[in-house]
Amino acid sequence: MTIVGIGLRNAWRNKIRAVLTLIGVAVAVIAFLFLRTILSAWTTGADNAAKDRLATRHKVTFVMSLPLRYVDHIRTIPGVKAASYANWFGAKNPNAEDQFFATIAVDSKTFLDVSDETVVPPDQKEHWLGDRRGAIIGDHLAKQFGWKVGDKVTLEGSIYPGDWEFVIDGIYTAARRSVDRSTFFFHWDYMNESLSAAQKDRVGWVMTRIDDPSHAADIAKRIDDSFADQETQTLTMSERAMNTSFLGMFSAILKAMNYVSIVILVIMGLILGNTIAMGVRERTHEYGVLRAIGFKPKHLVAFILGEAVLIGAIGGLVGVLVAVPFINQGVGRYLEENMSGFFPYFRVAPHDAILAGLLALGLAALVAAIPAYQASKLNTIDALRRVG
Protein backbone atom coordinates (compact mmCIF):
# COMPACT_ATOMS: atom_id res chain seq x y z
CA MET A 1 0.00 0.00 0.00
CA THR A 2 1.33 3.42 -0.99
CA ILE A 3 -0.01 6.96 -0.83
CA VAL A 4 -0.43 7.13 -4.61
CA GLY A 5 -1.96 3.63 -4.51
CA ILE A 6 -4.69 4.90 -2.20
CA GLY A 7 -5.35 7.74 -4.62
CA LEU A 8 -5.72 5.18 -7.40
CA ARG A 9 -8.24 3.18 -5.37
CA ASN A 10 -10.18 6.35 -4.74
CA ALA A 11 -10.55 6.71 -8.51
CA TRP A 12 -12.79 3.61 -8.56
CA ARG A 13 -14.79 4.55 -5.52
CA ASN A 14 -17.76 5.73 -7.55
CA LYS A 15 -17.58 3.24 -10.39
CA ILE A 16 -20.33 4.72 -12.58
CA ARG A 17 -18.78 8.17 -12.37
CA ALA A 18 -15.32 6.78 -13.02
CA VAL A 19 -16.47 4.82 -16.08
CA LEU A 20 -18.43 7.78 -17.49
CA THR A 21 -15.42 10.03 -17.00
CA LEU A 22 -13.16 7.51 -18.69
CA ILE A 23 -15.56 7.28 -21.62
CA GLY A 24 -15.68 11.09 -21.77
CA VAL A 25 -11.89 11.33 -21.88
CA ALA A 26 -11.63 8.50 -24.41
CA VAL A 27 -14.23 10.07 -26.73
CA ALA A 28 -12.45 13.43 -26.48
CA VAL A 29 -9.15 11.75 -27.37
CA ILE A 30 -10.77 9.99 -30.35
CA ALA A 31 -12.29 13.27 -31.59
CA PHE A 32 -8.99 15.08 -31.07
CA LEU A 33 -7.06 12.42 -33.00
CA PHE A 34 -9.62 12.43 -35.79
CA LEU A 35 -9.25 16.19 -36.25
CA ARG A 36 -5.47 16.02 -36.00
CA THR A 37 -5.47 13.31 -38.66
CA ILE A 38 -7.65 15.42 -40.97
CA LEU A 39 -5.21 18.32 -40.56
CA SER A 40 -2.19 16.14 -41.11
CA ALA A 41 -3.78 14.39 -44.13
CA TRP A 42 -4.64 17.75 -45.62
CA THR A 43 -1.13 19.06 -45.33
CA THR A 44 0.62 15.81 -46.20
CA GLY A 45 1.07 16.92 -49.83
CA ALA A 46 2.96 20.01 -48.71
CA ASP A 47 4.87 18.14 -46.02
CA ASN A 48 6.05 15.45 -48.44
CA ALA A 49 6.68 17.63 -51.48
CA ALA A 50 9.78 16.87 -53.53
CA LYS A 51 12.62 19.19 -52.58
CA ASP A 52 14.15 19.18 -56.07
CA ARG A 53 11.03 20.41 -57.82
CA LEU A 54 9.89 23.95 -58.53
CA ALA A 55 6.56 25.19 -59.78
CA THR A 56 6.15 28.27 -61.95
CA ARG A 57 2.84 30.01 -62.39
CA HIS A 58 1.39 33.37 -63.39
CA LYS A 59 2.62 36.06 -61.00
CA VAL A 60 -0.91 37.30 -60.27
CA THR A 61 -2.75 34.03 -59.62
CA PHE A 62 -2.63 30.39 -60.55
CA VAL A 63 -6.00 30.81 -62.25
CA MET A 64 -4.28 32.78 -65.03
CA SER A 65 -2.16 30.88 -67.55
CA LEU A 66 1.31 31.22 -69.09
CA PRO A 67 2.37 31.08 -72.74
CA LEU A 68 3.54 27.60 -73.80
CA ARG A 69 6.81 29.05 -75.11
CA TYR A 70 7.87 29.80 -71.50
CA VAL A 71 8.42 26.08 -70.96
CA ASP A 72 11.22 25.84 -73.52
CA HIS A 73 12.81 28.96 -72.12
CA ILE A 74 12.75 27.55 -68.57
CA ARG A 75 14.51 24.40 -69.83
CA THR A 76 17.46 26.57 -70.87
CA ILE A 77 17.98 28.13 -67.44
CA PRO A 78 21.08 26.81 -65.63
CA GLY A 79 20.24 24.34 -62.88
CA VAL A 80 17.06 23.10 -64.55
CA LYS A 81 17.21 19.37 -65.39
CA ALA A 82 13.74 18.90 -66.83
CA ALA A 83 10.48 20.79 -67.15
CA SER A 84 6.92 19.71 -67.78
CA TYR A 85 3.61 21.57 -67.82
CA ALA A 86 -0.02 21.05 -67.03
CA ASN A 87 -3.46 22.62 -66.98
CA TRP A 88 -6.22 22.15 -64.48
CA PHE A 89 -9.03 20.73 -66.60
CA GLY A 90 -11.88 20.52 -64.11
CA ALA A 91 -14.15 17.82 -65.53
CA LYS A 92 -16.76 15.64 -63.87
CA ASN A 93 -18.06 12.15 -64.33
CA PRO A 94 -21.61 12.78 -65.59
CA ASN A 95 -22.73 9.58 -63.88
CA ALA A 96 -21.45 10.79 -60.51
CA GLU A 97 -21.35 14.57 -60.58
CA ASP A 98 -21.12 14.95 -56.83
CA GLN A 99 -17.92 12.92 -56.60
CA PHE A 100 -14.94 15.20 -56.97
CA PHE A 101 -11.67 14.12 -58.56
CA ALA A 102 -8.88 16.10 -60.18
CA THR A 103 -8.58 16.09 -63.98
CA ILE A 104 -5.30 17.45 -65.29
CA ALA A 105 -4.00 17.82 -68.80
CA VAL A 106 -0.27 17.06 -68.75
CA ASP A 107 2.56 17.06 -71.23
CA SER A 108 2.72 13.27 -71.48
CA LYS A 109 6.24 13.23 -72.99
CA THR A 110 7.78 14.82 -69.88
CA PHE A 111 5.22 14.43 -67.11
CA LEU A 112 6.35 11.05 -65.74
CA ASP A 113 9.99 12.14 -65.77
CA VAL A 114 9.30 15.19 -63.65
CA SER A 115 6.62 13.56 -61.52
CA ASP A 116 8.51 10.32 -60.95
CA GLU A 117 6.47 9.35 -57.87
CA THR A 118 3.60 8.58 -60.24
CA VAL A 119 4.21 4.92 -61.08
CA VAL A 120 2.68 3.42 -64.24
CA PRO A 121 3.46 -0.12 -65.51
CA PRO A 122 5.83 0.22 -68.53
CA ASP A 123 3.46 -1.40 -71.04
CA GLN A 124 0.59 0.86 -69.99
CA LYS A 125 2.85 3.90 -70.15
CA GLU A 126 3.95 2.91 -73.64
CA HIS A 127 0.36 2.52 -74.74
CA TRP A 128 -0.70 5.84 -73.22
CA LEU A 129 2.10 7.79 -74.90
CA GLY A 130 0.85 6.59 -78.28
CA ASP A 131 -2.85 7.12 -77.66
CA ARG A 132 -4.09 10.71 -78.24
CA ARG A 133 -7.26 10.20 -76.17
CA GLY A 134 -5.56 8.05 -73.61
CA ALA A 135 -5.65 8.73 -69.90
CA ILE A 136 -3.94 7.32 -66.85
CA ILE A 137 -5.86 7.30 -63.61
CA GLY A 138 -5.06 6.59 -59.99
CA ASP A 139 -5.90 3.18 -58.58
CA HIS A 140 -8.28 4.73 -56.02
CA LEU A 141 -10.22 6.50 -58.78
CA ALA A 142 -10.35 3.25 -60.77
CA LYS A 143 -11.80 1.49 -57.77
CA GLN A 144 -14.21 4.34 -57.01
CA PHE A 145 -15.84 4.25 -60.46
CA GLY A 146 -15.04 0.65 -61.37
CA TRP A 147 -12.95 1.77 -64.35
CA LYS A 148 -10.48 -0.65 -65.95
CA VAL A 149 -7.74 -0.38 -68.53
CA GLY A 150 -9.40 -0.27 -71.95
CA ASP A 151 -12.63 1.35 -70.75
CA LYS A 152 -13.96 4.28 -72.73
CA VAL A 153 -15.16 7.11 -70.51
CA THR A 154 -16.79 10.44 -71.19
CA LEU A 155 -16.22 13.38 -68.91
CA GLU A 156 -18.16 16.61 -68.80
CA GLY A 157 -15.91 19.66 -68.97
CA SER A 158 -16.60 22.69 -66.80
CA ILE A 159 -13.66 25.02 -67.51
CA TYR A 160 -13.52 23.62 -71.04
CA PRO A 161 -17.20 22.83 -71.73
CA GLY A 162 -18.37 19.85 -73.70
CA ASP A 163 -18.22 16.07 -73.57
CA TRP A 164 -14.67 14.77 -73.65
CA GLU A 165 -14.03 11.16 -74.57
CA PHE A 166 -11.10 9.23 -73.18
CA VAL A 167 -9.74 5.70 -73.07
CA ILE A 168 -8.23 4.41 -69.84
CA ASP A 169 -4.73 3.34 -70.88
CA GLY A 170 -3.12 2.94 -67.51
CA ILE A 171 -3.63 2.88 -63.80
CA TYR A 172 -0.97 4.50 -61.70
CA THR A 173 0.07 3.87 -58.14
CA ALA A 174 2.25 6.08 -55.95
CA ALA A 175 5.83 5.82 -54.82
CA ARG A 176 5.10 8.36 -52.08
CA ARG A 177 2.14 8.50 -49.74
CA SER A 178 1.53 12.19 -50.43
CA VAL A 179 0.44 11.45 -53.99
CA ASP A 180 -3.24 11.76 -54.76
CA ARG A 181 -4.22 8.39 -56.17
CA SER A 182 -7.51 9.56 -57.62
CA THR A 183 -6.36 11.96 -60.32
CA PHE A 184 -7.25 11.67 -63.99
CA PHE A 185 -4.24 12.59 -66.22
CA PHE A 186 -4.54 12.92 -69.97
CA HIS A 187 -2.65 14.42 -72.90
CA TRP A 188 -2.31 18.19 -72.91
CA ASP A 189 -2.17 18.08 -76.73
CA TYR A 190 -5.63 16.49 -76.85
CA MET A 191 -7.02 19.40 -74.89
CA ASN A 192 -5.01 22.06 -76.70
CA GLU A 193 -5.98 21.02 -80.19
CA SER A 194 -9.65 21.27 -79.30
CA LEU A 195 -9.44 24.84 -78.08
CA SER A 196 -10.06 28.09 -79.93
CA ALA A 197 -7.10 30.09 -81.20
CA ALA A 198 -7.40 32.50 -78.27
CA GLN A 199 -7.21 29.70 -75.74
CA LYS A 200 -4.53 27.63 -77.46
CA ASP A 201 -0.96 27.17 -76.29
CA ARG A 202 -1.50 28.35 -72.72
CA VAL A 203 -0.31 26.33 -69.73
CA GLY A 204 -1.50 26.50 -66.12
CA TRP A 205 1.84 25.88 -64.50
CA VAL A 206 5.30 24.56 -65.24
CA MET A 207 6.92 21.89 -63.05
CA THR A 208 10.69 21.94 -63.03
CA ARG A 209 13.14 19.39 -61.71
CA ILE A 210 16.41 20.98 -60.63
CA ASP A 211 19.87 19.53 -60.15
CA ASP A 212 20.52 20.81 -56.63
CA PRO A 213 17.76 21.48 -54.05
CA SER A 214 20.10 23.75 -52.11
CA HIS A 215 20.05 26.16 -55.09
CA ALA A 216 16.25 26.13 -55.40
CA ALA A 217 15.85 29.77 -54.35
CA ASP A 218 18.51 30.96 -56.82
CA ILE A 219 17.06 28.98 -59.70
CA ALA A 220 13.54 30.19 -58.90
CA LYS A 221 14.81 33.77 -58.97
CA ARG A 222 16.61 33.16 -62.25
CA ILE A 223 13.40 31.86 -63.82
CA ASP A 224 11.32 34.79 -62.62
CA ASP A 225 14.00 37.34 -63.55
CA SER A 226 14.15 35.97 -67.07
CA PHE A 227 10.47 36.85 -67.53
CA ALA A 228 10.61 40.14 -65.66
CA ASP A 229 10.42 42.29 -68.78
CA GLN A 230 7.73 40.16 -70.42
CA GLU A 231 4.06 41.04 -70.51
CA THR A 232 3.25 37.94 -68.44
CA GLN A 233 5.45 37.64 -65.40
CA THR A 234 5.95 34.52 -63.36
CA LEU A 235 6.15 33.42 -59.80
CA THR A 236 8.35 30.41 -59.12
CA MET A 237 8.37 28.60 -55.82
CA SER A 238 9.20 25.27 -54.33
CA GLU A 239 6.61 22.57 -54.75
CA ARG A 240 6.06 22.68 -51.01
CA ALA A 241 5.36 26.43 -51.14
CA MET A 242 2.97 25.94 -54.04
CA ASN A 243 1.10 23.20 -52.22
CA THR A 244 0.99 25.37 -49.14
CA SER A 245 -0.35 28.35 -51.09
CA PHE A 246 -3.02 26.04 -52.50
CA LEU A 247 -3.86 25.01 -48.95
CA GLY A 248 -4.13 28.68 -48.11
CA MET A 249 -7.56 28.63 -49.77
CA PHE A 250 -8.66 26.25 -47.02
CA SER A 251 -6.84 28.04 -44.25
CA ALA A 252 -10.06 29.16 -42.57
CA ILE A 253 -11.28 25.56 -42.42
CA LEU A 254 -7.94 24.32 -41.15
CA LYS A 255 -7.83 27.05 -38.52
CA ALA A 256 -11.37 26.23 -37.45
CA MET A 257 -10.39 22.58 -37.07
CA ASN A 258 -7.40 23.56 -35.01
CA TYR A 259 -9.63 25.62 -32.73
CA VAL A 260 -12.14 22.78 -32.46
CA SER A 261 -9.36 20.41 -31.43
CA ILE A 262 -8.40 22.87 -28.68
CA VAL A 263 -12.06 23.13 -27.62
CA ILE A 264 -12.16 19.33 -27.38
CA LEU A 265 -9.18 19.42 -25.06
CA VAL A 266 -10.87 22.06 -22.93
CA ILE A 267 -14.01 19.90 -22.72
CA MET A 268 -11.88 16.92 -21.74
CA GLY A 269 -10.26 19.03 -19.03
CA LEU A 270 -13.64 20.18 -17.73
CA ILE A 271 -14.96 16.60 -17.56
CA LEU A 272 -11.90 15.48 -15.65
CA GLY A 273 -11.78 18.56 -13.45
CA ASN A 274 -15.44 18.16 -12.51
CA THR A 275 -14.94 14.53 -11.51
CA ILE A 276 -11.87 15.27 -9.45
CA ALA A 277 -13.45 18.30 -7.78
CA MET A 278 -16.55 16.27 -6.86
CA GLY A 279 -14.40 13.50 -5.41
CA VAL A 280 -12.34 15.95 -3.38
CA ARG A 281 -15.45 17.70 -2.08
CA GLU A 282 -16.98 14.37 -1.02
CA ARG A 283 -13.80 13.31 0.75
CA THR A 284 -13.09 16.53 2.62
CA HIS A 285 -13.89 14.83 5.94
CA GLU A 286 -11.49 12.00 5.13
CA TYR A 287 -8.76 14.46 4.29
CA GLY A 288 -9.38 16.01 7.71
CA VAL A 289 -8.88 12.59 9.31
CA LEU A 290 -5.68 12.04 7.35
CA ARG A 291 -4.38 15.44 8.38
CA ALA A 292 -5.28 14.71 11.99
CA ILE A 293 -3.30 11.47 12.08
CA GLY A 294 -0.24 13.21 10.70
CA PHE A 295 -0.46 13.31 6.91
CA LYS A 296 0.88 16.52 5.43
CA PRO A 297 -0.62 18.70 2.69
CA LYS A 298 1.83 17.22 0.16
CA HIS A 299 0.39 13.77 0.89
CA LEU A 300 -3.13 14.97 0.07
CA VAL A 301 -1.79 16.44 -3.18
CA ALA A 302 -0.29 13.03 -4.00
CA PHE A 303 -3.63 11.31 -3.26
CA ILE A 304 -5.52 13.64 -5.58
CA LEU A 305 -2.98 13.85 -8.39
CA GLY A 306 -2.54 10.06 -8.34
CA GLU A 307 -6.27 9.63 -8.84
CA ALA A 308 -6.48 12.24 -11.61
CA VAL A 309 -3.46 10.97 -13.49
CA LEU A 310 -4.81 7.42 -13.39
CA ILE A 311 -8.13 8.50 -14.92
CA GLY A 312 -6.33 10.61 -17.53
CA ALA A 313 -3.90 7.82 -18.38
CA ILE A 314 -6.54 5.10 -18.74
CA GLY A 315 -8.94 7.40 -20.62
CA GLY A 316 -6.15 8.54 -22.92
CA LEU A 317 -4.94 5.00 -23.53
CA VAL A 318 -8.43 3.70 -24.26
CA GLY A 319 -9.02 6.65 -26.61
CA VAL A 320 -5.79 6.01 -28.52
CA LEU A 321 -6.36 2.23 -28.66
CA VAL A 322 -9.84 2.76 -30.10
CA ALA A 323 -8.98 5.70 -32.36
CA VAL A 324 -5.98 4.15 -34.14
CA PRO A 325 -7.72 1.06 -35.59
CA PHE A 326 -10.98 2.99 -36.07
CA ILE A 327 -9.24 5.64 -38.17
CA ASN A 328 -6.48 3.59 -39.82
CA GLN A 329 -8.52 0.53 -40.70
CA GLY A 330 -11.97 2.06 -41.03
CA VAL A 331 -12.55 5.72 -41.78
CA GLY A 332 -9.05 6.27 -43.14
CA ARG A 333 -9.29 3.53 -45.74
CA TYR A 334 -12.69 4.73 -46.84
CA LEU A 335 -11.46 8.31 -47.24
CA GLU A 336 -8.28 7.28 -49.04
CA GLU A 337 -10.29 5.26 -51.54
CA ASN A 338 -13.16 7.70 -52.01
CA MET A 339 -11.71 11.15 -51.26
CA SER A 340 -8.10 10.64 -52.20
CA GLY A 341 -7.97 14.14 -53.74
CA PHE A 342 -8.32 15.64 -50.29
CA PHE A 343 -6.95 12.83 -48.17
CA PRO A 344 -4.32 10.81 -50.06
CA TYR A 345 -3.01 9.34 -46.83
CA PHE A 346 -5.39 9.32 -43.87
CA ARG A 347 -3.67 7.59 -40.97
CA VAL A 348 -3.05 8.58 -37.37
CA ALA A 349 0.47 9.93 -37.11
CA PRO A 350 2.35 8.19 -34.25
CA HIS A 351 3.37 11.56 -32.83
CA ASP A 352 -0.29 12.63 -32.73
CA ALA A 353 -1.23 9.43 -30.86
CA ILE A 354 1.56 10.04 -28.34
CA LEU A 355 0.55 13.70 -28.08
CA ALA A 356 -3.09 12.77 -27.39
CA GLY A 357 -2.09 10.34 -24.64
CA LEU A 358 0.28 12.82 -23.05
CA LEU A 359 -2.30 15.60 -23.25
CA ALA A 360 -4.86 13.43 -21.45
CA LEU A 361 -2.28 12.79 -18.74
CA GLY A 362 -1.05 16.37 -18.55
CA LEU A 363 -4.53 17.89 -18.56
CA ALA A 364 -5.62 15.49 -15.82
CA ALA A 365 -2.75 16.64 -13.65
CA LEU A 366 -3.40 20.27 -14.56
CA VAL A 367 -7.12 20.27 -13.75
CA ALA A 368 -6.49 18.29 -10.55
CA ALA A 369 -3.96 20.88 -9.42
CA ILE A 370 -6.64 23.33 -8.27
CA PRO A 371 -8.65 20.89 -6.07
CA ALA A 372 -5.37 19.41 -4.87
CA TYR A 373 -4.15 22.85 -3.87
CA GLN A 374 -7.46 23.60 -2.13
CA ALA A 375 -7.28 20.28 -0.27
CA SER A 376 -3.74 21.03 0.83
CA LYS A 377 -4.95 24.30 2.31
CA LEU A 378 -7.83 22.74 4.24
CA ASN A 379 -8.11 23.59 7.89
CA THR A 380 -8.03 20.20 9.64
CA ILE A 381 -10.75 21.02 12.15
CA ASP A 382 -13.05 22.50 9.50
CA ALA A 383 -12.48 19.42 7.36
CA LEU A 384 -13.29 17.10 10.27
CA ARG A 385 -16.56 18.97 10.84
CA ARG A 386 -17.54 18.60 7.19
CA VAL A 387 -19.95 15.73 6.58
CA GLY A 388 -20.09 13.92 3.22
Binding site: M1, I6, R13, E286, V289, R291, L384
Partner: protein, 227 residues
Amino acid sequence: MTENGTAIIELKSITKSYFRGSEQLDVLTNLDLSAPEGAFEALMGPSGSGKSTLLNLIAGLDRPTSGQIRVAGSDLVSMGEADRAKWRSNTVGFIFQTYNLMPVLTALENVELPLLLTKLSSAERKEHARVALRVVGLEDRGNHYPRQLSGGQEQRVAIARAIVTDPKIIVADEPTGDLDRKSADEILELLVRLNTEFKKTIFMVTHDPAAAERATIIRRLDKGTLQ
Protein backbone atom coordinates in the same frame (compact mmCIF):
# COMPACT_ATOMS: atom_id res chain seq x y z
CA MET B 1 1.47 15.78 40.21
CA THR B 2 -0.95 12.93 40.68
CA GLU B 3 -0.44 9.18 40.25
CA ASN B 4 2.92 8.76 38.49
CA GLY B 5 3.78 12.31 39.44
CA THR B 6 4.60 13.43 35.86
CA ALA B 7 2.18 15.59 33.88
CA ILE B 8 1.94 14.49 30.27
CA ILE B 9 -0.63 17.16 29.43
CA GLU B 10 -0.19 20.67 30.79
CA LEU B 11 -2.31 23.64 29.80
CA LYS B 12 -1.76 27.03 31.39
CA SER B 13 -4.03 30.08 31.10
CA ILE B 14 -5.56 28.85 27.88
CA THR B 15 -7.97 31.12 26.09
CA LYS B 16 -9.48 30.22 22.77
CA SER B 17 -11.63 32.75 20.96
CA TYR B 18 -13.31 32.73 17.59
CA PHE B 19 -14.49 35.72 15.64
CA ARG B 20 -17.81 35.86 13.87
CA GLY B 21 -17.54 39.10 11.99
CA SER B 22 -16.66 41.66 14.63
CA GLU B 23 -18.14 39.54 17.43
CA GLN B 24 -15.65 37.68 19.63
CA LEU B 25 -16.70 34.28 21.02
CA ASP B 26 -14.62 33.04 23.94
CA VAL B 27 -14.88 29.25 23.89
CA LEU B 28 -12.24 28.59 26.54
CA THR B 29 -11.34 31.18 29.16
CA ASN B 30 -8.16 31.21 31.18
CA LEU B 31 -8.18 27.42 31.51
CA ASP B 32 -5.56 25.42 33.40
CA LEU B 33 -5.31 21.65 33.12
CA SER B 34 -2.76 19.10 34.12
CA ALA B 35 -3.13 15.40 33.36
CA PRO B 36 -0.74 12.78 34.67
CA GLU B 37 0.94 10.23 32.46
CA GLY B 38 -1.01 6.97 32.37
CA ALA B 39 -4.31 8.61 33.28
CA PHE B 40 -7.66 7.79 31.73
CA GLU B 41 -9.48 11.09 31.75
CA ALA B 42 -13.06 11.72 30.77
CA LEU B 43 -14.18 15.22 29.84
CA MET B 44 -17.87 15.87 30.10
CA GLY B 45 -20.01 18.91 29.58
CA PRO B 46 -23.00 20.21 27.67
CA SER B 47 -22.91 20.88 23.95
CA GLY B 48 -21.03 24.06 23.14
CA SER B 49 -19.09 23.97 26.39
CA GLY B 50 -15.76 23.76 24.53
CA LYS B 51 -14.98 20.02 24.98
CA SER B 52 -13.97 19.40 21.36
CA THR B 53 -12.02 22.65 21.23
CA LEU B 54 -10.05 21.56 24.28
CA LEU B 55 -9.48 18.12 22.77
CA ASN B 56 -8.23 19.70 19.53
CA LEU B 57 -5.77 21.84 21.47
CA ILE B 58 -4.43 18.86 23.42
CA ALA B 59 -4.12 16.81 20.21
CA GLY B 60 -2.18 19.57 18.46
CA LEU B 61 -4.87 20.17 15.83
CA ASP B 62 -5.44 23.77 16.86
CA ARG B 63 -3.63 26.60 18.61
CA PRO B 64 -4.90 28.68 21.52
CA THR B 65 -5.51 32.40 21.28
CA SER B 66 -3.28 32.72 24.33
CA GLY B 67 -1.71 30.47 26.93
CA GLN B 68 0.74 27.60 26.97
CA ILE B 69 0.29 23.95 26.01
CA ARG B 70 2.86 21.29 26.73
CA VAL B 71 2.00 17.71 25.79
CA ALA B 72 4.35 14.74 26.03
CA GLY B 73 7.24 17.12 26.55
CA SER B 74 6.58 19.30 23.49
CA ASP B 75 5.55 22.94 23.44
CA LEU B 76 2.69 22.86 20.92
CA VAL B 77 2.15 26.63 20.80
CA SER B 78 5.57 27.36 19.35
CA MET B 79 5.43 24.51 16.80
CA GLY B 80 4.70 25.16 13.14
CA GLU B 81 1.98 23.30 11.24
CA ALA B 82 4.34 20.75 9.66
CA ASP B 83 6.06 20.02 12.98
CA ARG B 84 2.71 19.54 14.70
CA ALA B 85 1.65 17.09 11.95
CA LYS B 86 4.81 15.09 12.54
CA TRP B 87 4.35 15.33 16.30
CA ARG B 88 0.76 14.05 16.00
CA SER B 89 1.83 11.08 13.91
CA ASN B 90 4.37 10.07 16.57
CA THR B 91 2.58 11.01 19.78
CA VAL B 92 -1.20 10.94 19.44
CA GLY B 93 -3.68 8.28 18.41
CA PHE B 94 -7.12 9.51 17.35
CA ILE B 95 -10.45 7.80 17.92
CA PHE B 96 -13.46 9.52 16.37
CA GLN B 97 -17.17 9.11 17.04
CA THR B 98 -17.86 8.01 13.46
CA TYR B 99 -14.78 5.74 13.19
CA ASN B 100 -13.58 7.50 10.02
CA LEU B 101 -12.11 4.47 8.33
CA MET B 102 -11.27 4.77 4.64
CA PRO B 103 -13.87 2.71 2.76
CA VAL B 104 -11.47 1.76 -0.06
CA LEU B 105 -9.03 0.14 2.36
CA THR B 106 -9.36 -3.16 4.21
CA ALA B 107 -9.27 -3.24 8.01
CA LEU B 108 -5.58 -4.20 7.90
CA GLU B 109 -4.78 -1.40 5.45
CA ASN B 110 -6.70 1.14 7.52
CA VAL B 111 -4.62 0.18 10.53
CA GLU B 112 -1.47 0.32 8.42
CA LEU B 113 -2.32 3.84 7.17
CA PRO B 114 -0.48 5.91 9.85
CA LEU B 115 2.60 3.74 9.36
CA LEU B 116 2.95 5.06 5.80
CA LEU B 117 4.45 8.12 7.46
CA THR B 118 7.22 6.03 9.03
CA LYS B 119 10.32 4.46 7.51
CA LEU B 120 9.10 0.92 8.13
CA SER B 121 9.15 -1.51 5.22
CA SER B 122 5.90 -2.79 3.76
CA ALA B 123 6.32 -6.14 5.54
CA GLU B 124 7.07 -4.44 8.84
CA ARG B 125 4.06 -2.17 8.47
CA LYS B 126 1.80 -5.14 7.85
CA GLU B 127 3.19 -6.99 10.83
CA HIS B 128 2.64 -3.99 13.12
CA ALA B 129 -0.91 -3.62 11.79
CA ARG B 130 -1.62 -7.33 12.44
CA VAL B 131 -0.40 -6.97 16.01
CA ALA B 132 -2.65 -3.94 16.54
CA LEU B 133 -5.63 -5.84 15.12
CA ARG B 134 -4.79 -8.73 17.44
CA VAL B 135 -4.86 -6.36 20.42
CA VAL B 136 -8.41 -5.27 19.53
CA GLY B 137 -9.46 -8.86 18.79
CA LEU B 138 -9.98 -8.47 15.05
CA GLU B 139 -6.99 -10.26 13.59
CA ASP B 140 -9.31 -12.50 11.56
CA ARG B 141 -11.08 -9.47 10.00
CA GLY B 142 -7.98 -7.95 8.43
CA ASN B 143 -9.19 -8.46 4.86
CA HIS B 144 -12.67 -7.12 5.49
CA TYR B 145 -13.66 -3.71 4.22
CA PRO B 146 -15.35 -1.29 6.65
CA ARG B 147 -18.75 -1.89 5.01
CA GLN B 148 -18.40 -5.58 5.93
CA LEU B 149 -17.95 -4.81 9.63
CA SER B 150 -20.39 -3.86 12.40
CA GLY B 151 -20.18 -0.45 14.06
CA GLY B 152 -18.42 -1.92 17.09
CA GLN B 153 -15.92 -3.73 14.87
CA GLU B 154 -15.27 -0.56 12.86
CA GLN B 155 -14.54 1.33 16.07
CA ARG B 156 -12.17 -1.42 17.17
CA VAL B 157 -10.34 -1.14 13.84
CA ALA B 158 -10.17 2.62 14.44
CA ILE B 159 -8.66 1.94 17.88
CA ALA B 160 -6.12 -0.40 16.30
CA ARG B 161 -5.25 2.43 13.88
CA ALA B 162 -4.88 4.78 16.85
CA ILE B 163 -2.43 2.51 18.67
CA VAL B 164 -0.44 1.10 15.76
CA THR B 165 2.25 3.79 16.02
CA ASP B 166 2.49 3.15 19.77
CA PRO B 167 1.52 6.73 20.72
CA LYS B 168 1.81 8.01 24.27
CA ILE B 169 -1.62 9.59 24.22
CA ILE B 170 -4.95 8.52 22.79
CA VAL B 171 -7.58 11.19 22.28
CA ALA B 172 -11.13 9.94 21.83
CA ASP B 173 -13.98 12.16 20.75
CA GLU B 174 -17.27 10.48 21.77
CA PRO B 175 -15.91 7.01 20.95
CA THR B 176 -19.17 5.29 21.92
CA GLY B 177 -21.53 7.94 20.58
CA ASP B 178 -22.61 5.91 17.55
CA LEU B 179 -22.73 2.50 19.23
CA ASP B 180 -25.34 0.40 21.01
CA ARG B 181 -24.80 -0.27 24.70
CA LYS B 182 -23.20 -3.69 24.24
CA SER B 183 -20.74 -2.49 21.60
CA ALA B 184 -20.07 0.65 23.63
CA ASP B 185 -19.19 -1.45 26.66
CA GLU B 186 -16.80 -3.56 24.58
CA ILE B 187 -15.07 -0.42 23.31
CA LEU B 188 -14.82 1.05 26.80
CA GLU B 189 -13.42 -2.26 28.07
CA LEU B 190 -10.80 -2.07 25.34
CA LEU B 191 -9.90 1.51 26.28
CA VAL B 192 -9.52 0.51 29.92
CA ARG B 193 -7.26 -2.32 28.82
CA LEU B 194 -5.13 0.03 26.72
CA ASN B 195 -4.82 2.28 29.74
CA THR B 196 -4.05 -0.38 32.33
CA GLU B 197 -2.23 -3.00 30.29
CA PHE B 198 -0.47 -0.85 27.66
CA LYS B 199 -0.10 2.25 29.86
CA LYS B 200 -1.64 4.63 27.34
CA THR B 201 -2.77 8.02 28.55
CA ILE B 202 -6.34 8.46 27.34
CA PHE B 203 -8.22 11.72 27.07
CA MET B 204 -11.84 11.08 26.18
CA VAL B 205 -14.66 13.51 25.47
CA THR B 206 -18.06 11.99 26.17
CA HIS B 207 -21.68 12.76 26.89
CA ASP B 208 -22.22 9.26 28.19
CA PRO B 209 -22.05 9.00 32.02
CA ALA B 210 -21.53 5.22 31.74
CA ALA B 211 -18.48 5.85 29.56
CA ALA B 212 -17.13 8.51 31.91
CA GLU B 213 -17.39 6.10 34.82
CA ARG B 214 -14.70 3.93 33.25
CA ALA B 215 -12.22 6.79 33.43
CA THR B 216 -9.93 7.35 36.38
CA ILE B 217 -10.46 11.11 36.31
CA ILE B 218 -13.66 12.86 35.27
CA ARG B 219 -13.58 16.57 34.46
CA ARG B 220 -16.52 18.78 33.65
CA LEU B 221 -16.39 21.74 31.35
CA ASP B 222 -19.03 24.42 31.26
CA LYS B 223 -18.95 27.70 29.35
CA GLY B 224 -15.26 27.34 28.68
CA THR B 225 -14.23 26.77 32.26
CA LEU B 226 -13.31 23.57 34.06
CA GLN B 227 -15.53 22.98 37.09
